[in-house]
Amino acid sequence: MAQSELLSIILGGIGTIAIFSFLIKENYFYRIFEHMFIGVAAGIGPILVLRDFLWPQIVEPMLGYTITAYPDGTFSAEYQPLYFLYVFPMILGMLYYSMYSRKHAWLSKIAIGVSLGASGALAIRGFFAEVIPQIASSFKPILVWRDGGFQAVESVNNLLFVAILFLVLNYFFFTLGRTGSVQSRTASWGRPLLMVCFGAFFGSTVMARLALLVERVQFISRDWISAIINVTGGTF
């Protein structure tokens, strides 16, 4: 095992115990590691944006660095001056930093606005791409005939699916209801069905949360203890 890996495990174990000490009460040890975590987490993202996107996909094509120069003085491709247009979104993006000037802060709203507008328009497209297949698959055949026979189980399941879907949708139609109408009388039927869904959610959430605990206990009881034994030469 490389020394850096060993150090990582030992440090990670100490950090885990420090974080778990919060279960007893908030303390100095916990807060030190909490701030260390925030510092590291905040430092990762910006460099990655530069390394994995801005540099290889924007700056390099703009400066022609993606073109290979061959030993005979020729090039793998001709430079495309259109790439230089990336300067404009860069300038627009720089407007974000005007928020640090009280006088010019409003300019940052231009950059925010363009991003919001683009996200809004893309979300319209995303809505249709996501929802239309959902609507189509909601129209299930209530009587299923397949392989020359009636599929009773599938038919009942489909009927249940469609009925539950409509009952829950009906529950959410707050604007249509008139006292005494069929819609208002059946609206409350959606509630117990929602509870079934929330129950499934709770059951699943329990598994997700406990998985995190299991992973940590596994790390401390196996990796960390082994690393400590390794470092202390078995005298621990």
Partner: protein, 287 residues
């Protein structure tokens, strides 16, 4: 009744630790959606130049579940010799993009020393891509994805890796995998990783919290396979072991067993909480 919740904390840690410390593991529960996913991955057919694209969009906050899922999915793809392009929409997965495929490749290299799984052939790491849905629809629209991506995280042009040099369009991507606990990130793939005449074969590894939500996409066939938390990964590992007897997932089984014990403890705590509550209520009524 005064009761310190610290006893509950201690109880939970003890319940989880017992199977791990004593190495007690049981066979995982059968997960039908994981079986479907296994068969989808098993039946992906590729020709030279085709690849699988796997998004690893998780950090340490969901590594317990997503890490295990990524390992079994990559193991299956590596065993099938499908070149994998790894990307991420989540910056904090940076280190995992490097360590997880390396771990899987090392495992296979030890298992079959006569063969080799290595960076540049079995997988490459394209790194973090900002822009979410905007980036994805841009990637899908590109007619030369190798050039579009530019370089991998090591700074090498993607075109230098023969298996990834000719991704001439999104049609070359025969399988899309998304391992994440973030519903927004998963939604962007559902919404934007498609174009006229192309919809990917799409598999998803989700954290347990998002299981109920993911099922609606399985039903609409927008999703073709699903790994549900640790339980899904454990069953997928079991299926891998059936096809490849040398494939061992001892740690995953141990985790799954500890998780099962913890869930039993939760059920007992709910019951105990209700009994205590009922007792207090009846005592108050008697008084």
């Amino acid at each position: 009744m005064r009761f310190s919740h610290r006893y509950v904390y201690l109880l939970m840690i003890a319940v989880v630790a017992i199977p791990i410390v004593f190495g007690f593991s049981t066979k995982p529960a059968r997960m039908i959606s994981a079986e479907r996913m296994y068969s989808v991955v098993e039946n992906v057919s590729i020709v030279e130049g085709d690849i699988a694209l796997v998004w690893l969009d998780f950090g340490p906050n969901t590594i317990a579940e997503n890490g295990a899922q990524a390992e079994v999915l990559l193991e299956h793809l590596f065993r099938r010799r499908i070149p994998v392009l790894l990307l991420s929409q989540y910056p904090l997965s940076e280190g995992l993009l490097k360590t997880i495929p390396r771990k899987v490749a090392d495992k296979l290299n030890i298992e079959m020393p006569e063969q080799e799984w290595k960076y540049g052939e079995s997988w490459i790491n394209g790194g973090y891509k900002p822009g979410s849905g905007n980036y994805i629809q841009s990637l899908v629209a590109s007619t030369d994805i190798s050039t579009f991506l530019g370089r991998d995280v090591l700074g090498m042009p993607i075109e230098h890796y023969p298996a990834f040099a000719k991704i001439t369009g999104v049609e070359k991507i025969k399988l899309v995998g998304e391992i994440t606990g973030l519903t927004g990130v998963f939604d962007t793939i559902i919404q934007f990783f498609q174009k006229k005449g192309y919809r990917p074969t799409f598999v998803h590894g989700c954290t347990s919290i998002t299981i109920p939500e993911a099922y609606i996409f399985l039903d609409s066939k927008q999703l073709h396979g699903l790994l549900e938390g640790i339980a899904g990964a454990a069953w997928y590992g079991e299926l891998l072991q059936r096809s490849f007897p040398q494939s061992s997932h001892k740690n995953l089984l141990l985790t799954n067993t500890a998780l099962g014990a913890a869930q039993i403890a939760i059920i007992l705590l709910i019951v105990a909480g209700n009994v205590v509550s009922l007792y207090s209520w009846s005592k108050r009524r008697r008084d």
